[in-house]
């Protein structure tokens, strides 16, 4: 009997962690060495929101990834760290980042755990000299010490960034959201879940718009990304003439041991080199990761540099064949799939309507500062 009771409790706990997979999403991939537990997730949430882990004591992960803004810092185009210092990249949402095969716009980090290490140290984000101060605060905080013991079974002196980042990643893995009107229509077969324009927009998405080539959907789920890097003519278009000098200077500096994370967030021109800064491939110049389209209507502005304010601007940029304005110069490194689409005004409107159908119910009310943070901390 006692055994049964324990088993039942364990089941309950597991249920609380692995909430049912929302419609339209696959199961959340969880690394074997970092299983989800309620204790770890609660700890991760606390760490994620702790402003003390920054040089000025007022910036947390949540500053740029705010729950009430769908885990972004909308409407900022690029993020603000300590002392209002700005970086070069638009904060990507944490929501559904659990499915990303790489993290950051240029994929320079292979996992959520690794990703969490970097903003603490970047001089335009949280700007700590090293991770020491974080561990010091944690080890001196009774609540944290107790929570780390519960989550990892370790003593204060043994806490390292390995546990800190594992807890943050575990929390982030609870931030998944599907079940959008599109999901109910496409995967749930509710014929009236989305509007007529959104349905037409989906046809454009699959057809003339060619969007699905990169924003992939599968038979039983849709992450709306191919996890690859493409030069779509954003940012790079403005530095075309400077690419040879920038690429050369970057390579020399990288060869001499410069920190890529610091370099790409501190210089806008260098930032536009994109994936090239990470993998050194000539074919990666100006390439950025295909972001998911889930909740896209509530996470403006768009693109790696936040340079586009509306979804219509985005669609027009693609319609122009990777240039804005339409008569701008196409960059030489443009990805092959980007070409003028000749969409009609209605097709453009319909595509936007389709993207607006990708908002999950818990973010439906989100606009500007009146946001229902229903996703909470996920416990």
């Amino acid at each position: 009997m006692k055994k049964l009771l324990i088993a039942a409790c364990a089941l309950l706990a597991a249920g609380a962690v692995a909430a049912q997979t929302p419609l339209g999403l696959p199961g959340v991939p969880v690394p074997a060495d970092n299983p989800q537990t309620p204790q770890k997730i609660a700890l991760g949430s606390l760490l994620f929101h702790d402003v003390r882990f920054s040089a000025t004591g007022d910036v947390a992960c949540a500053t740029c990834h705010a729950a009430e803004k769908v885990f972004t810092d909308s409407p900022l185009s690029v993020s603000e760290g300590i002392n209002k210092l700005t970086g070069t990249r638009n904060a990507p949402t944490v929501v559904n980042a659990a499915y990303n095969k790489t993290q950051f716009w240029d994929g320079r980090s292979p996992s959520l755990e690794d990703q969490a290490l970097h903003p603490f140290l970047n001089p335009v984000e949280m700007a700590l000299p090293d991770h020491g101060p974080i561990l010091e605060i944690i080890r001196g905080d009774d609540n944290y010490v107790a929570m780390f013991r519960d989550a990892f079974g370790i003593r204060a002196a043994n806490i390292t960034m390995d546990e800190v980042t594992k807890a943050i990643a575990a929390f982030e893995r609870t931030q998944v959201s599907g079940n959008s009107p599109f999901d109910r229509w496409y995967f749930g077969r509710e014929s009236d879940a989305i509007s007529e324009p959104a349905r037409r927009g989906f046809a454009v998405f699959l057809g003339n718009g060619r969007c699905v080539s990169c924003h992939a959907i599968e038979q039983d789920h849709a992450l709306f990304t191919d996890h690859l890097f493409h030069n779509i003519g954003v940012g790079i278009n403005d530095i075309q003439d400077k690419v040879p000098q920038l690429a050369h200077a970057f390579q020399v500096a990288k060869n001499q041991g410069m920190d890529v994370d610091v370099a790409v967030l501190s210089d806008a021109d260098t930032s536009h080199l994109g994936r090239f800064a990470v993998d050194d491939q000539l074919s990666s110049i100006g390439g950025f990761k295909t972001p998911t389209l889930r909740n896209i209507a509530v996470t403006a502005p768009y693109m790696h540099d936040g340079s586009m304010k509306t979804l219509r601007e985005v669609v027009e940029h693609y319609n122009n064949g990777g240039v804005t304005p339409a008569d701008g110069a196409v960059n030489a490194f443009l990805s092959g799939g980007i070409k003028p689409l000749n969409l009609s005004e209605q097709e453009i409107d319909d595509l936007v309507a389709f993207m607006e159908s990708l908002t999950s119910p818990q973010f439906e009310q989100t606009s500007g500062d009146s946001v229902a943070a229903t996703s909470g901390t996920g416990e």
Binding site: K101, T102, G107, P110, S213, H227, L228, V243, P244, A247, H248, Q251, V252, K254, N255, V278, D279, D280, Q281, L282, S283, I285, V330, A332, F333, L334, S335, G336, G337, K339
Partner: protein, 360 residues
């Protein structure tokens, strides 16, 4: 996946610093190790088969344009700077002045000295006349840092086919552009050029490294698509008297490599589109060199997949090729001095190969 790429890069760098290959990365801020006066080491880039295609007025097929534009822009970023760039033929699709001019304009963006090879798509409209205005002789040779380079025009054919058969130059061009075409004719070097080649080689010492650029393979792989040169055996007989010969060819739009006697053959990619491997046409005999580890089938939804360009490192008389591929792992085909033939540095081991996609 990105990790794998990164590691591959590091491994490559290791190989690079040990003097095997230079190259890659613009990175290649790596010093060319091993270069000596008697064994010079240098790099060159190779772009081929752009097939610039005129639609009408100022309109050209965008995808072919963009492929060439991208290759030119990327080649300009190479570090260390290559000594020269070769364009491997088929600049144009139907050999018109408009196409050749448009292609030449894009190629003029290269910051390097250029050597150009004649392709059949450049030739059969006016028999290379306008091409000559742009690029000069149809075949020629030169010496560079102790290496003897030869550029052949290997895409001519029997005189009666060329001169006596077609009612118009356009018809002739179209017939030669066709695949599996019963009206087609095999590529040749021709008696006059063979004589020139023999004479040219007679001035070269046996231990001088020789590099030959041709559009067609100087070997017989598949006749129906002219992966073929009619006098391949005769050309090989002239070449194999030298200790180290390297033949680089275009036309096939895919990775092929082979070794025949002292001659190492390696093909290059097209910037426009890939061809399937000839054995995919099961009704006809073909002979893809058994050394070749083929590329996986191109993804038809990815406009640049299985296209690319290459840069090459010349050392100890052999050419190593680095294939710059799009949305794909770059491939390196380098000469293995122990085995005495070129090999893919990553995929020669069957265990390392990417399984062919079976789900679409």
């Amino acid at each position: 996946m990105s990790n794998k790429t990164l590691n591959g890069r590091r491994d490559f760098l290791k190989a690079t610093t040990s003097g095997v290959i230079a190259g890659m990365l613009p990175v290649s801020l790596v010093r060319l190790a091993g270069a000596t006066e008697s064994d010079p080491e240098f790099t060159f880039a190779y772009i081929s088969d752009s097939h610039i295609q005129h639609i009408k007025g100022a309109e050209f097929v965008r995808n072919w344009d963009r492929g060439l534009i991208r290759a030119v822009a990327e080649a300009n970023l190479l570090e260390p700077k290559p000594d020269f760039v070769v364009f491997g033929g088929d600049l144009a699709q139907l050999g018109t002045k408009a196409e050749l001019d448009h292609g030449a304009e894009i190629l003029s963006g290269l910051n390097y000295k250029m050597r150009v090879v004649m392709g059949e798509h450049d030739y059969y409209l006016d028999l290379g006349e306008y091409w000559s205005d742009l690029y000069g002789e149809h075949y020629y040779s030169w010496d560079h840092k102790g290496v003897h380079f030869i550029t052949l025009n290997s895409i001519i054919t029997y005189d009666d086919w060329t001169f006596d058969r077609w009612e118009s130059p356009e018809r002739r061009m179209n017939e030669m552009a066709g695949l599996d075409n019963p009206n087609g004719s095999p590529f040749m070097v021709g008696r006059k050029q063979m004589k020139w080649l023999k004479k040219d080689l007679s001035k070269v010492s046996r231990d001088t490294p020789v590099v030959v650029f041709s559009h067609s393979p100087l070997q017989k792989i598949y006749k129906g698509w002219n992966f073929w040169t009619e006098e391949a055996d005769d050309v090989q007989a002239l070449l194999k008297r030298f200790d180290k010969v390297n033949v680089i060819y275009g036309h096939v739009h895919q990775i092929q490599y082979n070794q025949i006697d002292t001659i190492a053959f390696t093909s290059v990619m097209s910037t426009a589109w890939p061809w399937p491997y000839p054995e995919s046409y099961a009704q006809a005999e073909s002979h893809l060199p058994i050394l070749t580890v083929p590329m996986n089938r191109a993804d038809p939804f990815n406009e640049r997949d299985a296209t690319g360009w290459q840069f090459m490192n010349m050392h100890t008389g052999r050419v190593d090729l680095e294939f710059n591929l799009y949305n794909n792992n770059n491939r390196t085909v380098a000469f293995n001095h122990e085995k005495g033939h070129p090999e893919d540095t990553m995929f020669s081991n069957p265990k390392e190969r990417t399984p062919t996609q079976s789900h679409f």
